[in-house]
């Protein structure tokens, strides 16, 4: 930082008129500034030509639909056949159960509570008990996998498939069934009375 005021260069043109004592130089526009201005104008012409005039670039909806169809395909390809036996096996795998617990505590506890006992622990809870033998929508691991994936909207169970994906849901099933024994009696709940 200079300590002395710079004396204006003699070639600096200064405007003849002053306003309330304010003077104005009339210096050239900096080249880099002009280049920036012109470059952005050229970019505008190119961008508009690419996207709006010749429609070479895909628009937002086209791009997202293409990407989503790829994701759908990848999901279908990645999903192995899961049967009850393999789920029971997973429910005894500590790593999978631990991963399932993390997802459960982040996603499911709001309705089913951390104890998994839901309404049986606190009548104000939205979700039913998951560790008794009474299953409302089927008590086989594959049933539960389906319930989590597709949800039961009328009962307030959101469809978690699109959000969590197959791997996390598989882990959730493993976690829930880690509280159960293979071959335990499964009781189908009676049809729900509309108004209690």
């Amino acid at each position: 930082m200079p300590t002395k005021p710079l004396t204006p260069q003699p070639e600096d043109p200064i405007r003849p008129h002053t306003f309330d004592g304010i003077q104005e130089y009339d210096k050239r526009l900096p080249n880099w500034w002009l280049v920036t201005l012109f470059a952005t104008i050229v970019f505008w012409v190119g961008y508009w030509t690419y996207y709006q005039w010749f429609h070479i670039g895909a628009n937002g909806p086209q791009r997202v639909e293409l990407a989503m169809s790829k994701i759908e395909a990848a999901r279908l390809a990645a999903n192995p056949t899961l049967d009850d036996a393999s789920f029971w096996k997973m429910s005894r795998n500590p790593e999978l159960v631990e991963a399932g617990r993390a997802t459960f505590n982040a996603t499911c506890v709001a309705c089913h509570l951390a104890s998994l006992r839901g309404k049986d622990e606190n009548p104000a809870a939205i979700g039913p008990n998951l560790i008794d033998q009474v299953w409302i929508h089927g008590g086989n691991p594959t049933d539960v996998y389906h319930t989590i994936t597709s949800g039961v909207l009328v009962k307030g169970m959101p469809a978690w498939g699109p959000v969590l994906g197959p791997r996390k849901i598989t882990e959730l099933v493993a976690y829930v069934f880690s509280f159960h024994k293979e071959g335990e009696p499964i009781i189908q709940a009676p049809p729900d009375p509309v108004v209690k």
Binding site: M1, D20, L29, T36, T40, I41, W48, W53, V64, I126
Partner: protein
Amino acid sequence: MSDKKITIEFNDGIVRKFLVASVIWGIVGMLVGVLIAAQLNFWQLNFATPWLTWGRIRPLHTNAVIFALVGNMMFAGVYYSTQRLVRARLASNFLSNLHFWGWQLIIVSAAVTLPLGLTRGKEYAELIWPINIAVTLIWVVFAVNFFWTLAIRRERSLYVALWFYIATIVTVAMLYIVNHLSIPTSFTHSYPLFGGVQDALVQWWYGHNAVAFFLTTPILGIMYYFLPKAAERPVYSYRLSVVHFWSLVFVYIWAGPHHLLNTALPGWLQSLGMTFSLMLWAPSWGGMLNGLLTLRGAWHKLRTDPVLKFFAAAVTFYGMATFEGPLLSIKSVNALAHYTDWIIGHVHVGTLGWNGFMAAGMTYWLIPRLWNKPLYSTAMANLHFWIGTVGILLYVAAMWTSGITQGLMLNATTEHGTVLAYPNFVDTVNVIRPMMLMRGIGGALYLAGWLMLAFNMWKTVRGAEPVNGTIEVFEDEPLVADEKITLVGTFLNPPVAFSILGVGFASAWMFGGDFVSIAGLTGLAICVALAYIHFESRGKKWADWYDRLLVNSAPFTILTLLAVVAGGLIQIIPTVAANNAANVEDRRQIPYTPLELAGRDIYIREGCYLCHSQMIRTLVPDVLRYGDYSRLGESIYDHPFQWGSKRNGPDLARVGGKYPNVWHLRHMENPRSVSTGSIMPTYPWLLTNVLDEASLTSKISVQRILGVPYPNWTPEQIATRVDEQAKGIALDLRSAGAYVDSDREIIAVIAYLQKLGQFEKVAPQRTVIAPP
């Protein structure tokens, strides 16, 4: 001309009034800002009280700092500098006082109505329609007072500061009126004329240009007067002033759609918004350059003079904000940053850094001159500068970190990009909470600095004698001596003619299609080439003409208006003409039932849209998280639109049917009972307030006028429909163990939320709204 001189006294009383008001309202606005920042960390600070809850007082913060702090500061600066730049006293004492007291009354009524939940539901345009009319009238008072003063000026030529003031006055009037067109349903409520995508476009045309023409151009004008005064240095470049002024006012208007990138807004508007934002970079930096380079030769004064410190920092922050703006307007950057704290950080570089520091610098410069007494404490002013700067840096660094962190988390996928890495929105919020806390601390430091300003001002002014500036003029000096430029002469000259031709050809190229496009681009190239050749050979003619324009305020104002009108017309007219129910993509919104409409008005009253968007963008992470992307037909009946601008909570465009009614009840009563770690306030009063059914008759009749296809129901028919639907929801809640009377507001809110995302399939007629 006789040699006899007379002394003219300026009206500096009005400047003092506006200056004091600006400092006081600044305290109020920033205090509310610190409170709402703290509420995001500690939901308990909403105190379960309607008028203290975030959604209602956030508009109070924005309106207070924009219209009360910067508004009053702008009027003080404009009135002080204009009188001196034109060597004449303000035209009318009466109008000046009416302007001041009218404006303060507007601010007070805003401070009362906003916490009461009286709002239009559009950002920075929340005030209800009677206040809108008052604002318009007072703005006209300001305009008349200003232009009348120009008309009786002794200084023939208009200095650059005045150009910016003229642009401010005409453009704010245009923006404000168009975005506030509404049809009242009662004395305190109205629906905006535009709906859905139209409303979105008009809102952000206004919102973006409120930043441009309320927070930028008047402050640039103030910079052009006060900075060279304080630095005692000539302005760096007159021709840079000319080029950056005209490019700024012309380009700014087009950039509004950058607030709606990757949304259902038609692609051509998004492309305009992005490219014009990039073209805005250089014009904005022109102002920064002229400010900073004027300080050449005066840098040594910064060490001792707090005024210059504030000005230099303010102009630097202006440069940062106007570099960041175009950057954020790039669609791919925007995909990360939009709806996050990065935008909040960007805005506050401008408001705290540019507006706040310009206001502080100007105030410190004016106080000794308006009260004829040295500032009470220069050391305290210097401390204000440093504490304010630290506050800004903490604030902005926190928001950058927070915005980028949350943006990356929200967009992160796992399992080869097929699944969200962080499916729970609230997890991403909790990660940024330390940054939100730091933002609050930064804001509090900034407020502390501002309190020092107020204290310093109080100590200086107390007991001081107000003093008014004077000038000596010749007794019979002619007031104005315009060489008249006729209307034809205004347009038929090289600079204007080439500009109009160029914009015409560019429009033909962009919107003509086929041969018209080719002809347009060719014409544009030829036009630019000819203009260049003409300028190189006859540049003197251009300069002479501009000198003549500067002694003619009316043609100058007309050309300014023309420059700002172009972008708005080209964007808004095709959208308004083409946006109707018969012309949507493949989906059309199903109109709300009366109960749902009532719920929607409560949703707007509580300011839910300030934290929850209703717009799933055409981006994979948005679609994975919230469902299929939003089509423009899905909000076509929304007056006002509710696309939102910030996600402190998740998007709600398709929340309908996702959770049971009882979930929503529990969630509104206490969000943490169903969503662990939520930062949302509680809304217990929705469970006790009785729904206002009576107003639905006039609301639905206004909706019919606006084109929403409601049958011609009688009030009884409306009441029956409301009761039926409400009882159904209450019954469902009871079956889930929750007992709420069916006439409570919460029932309407649940009905509305469960409706969100419902549409009917229609055969596609035109896939996009294209300009004709």
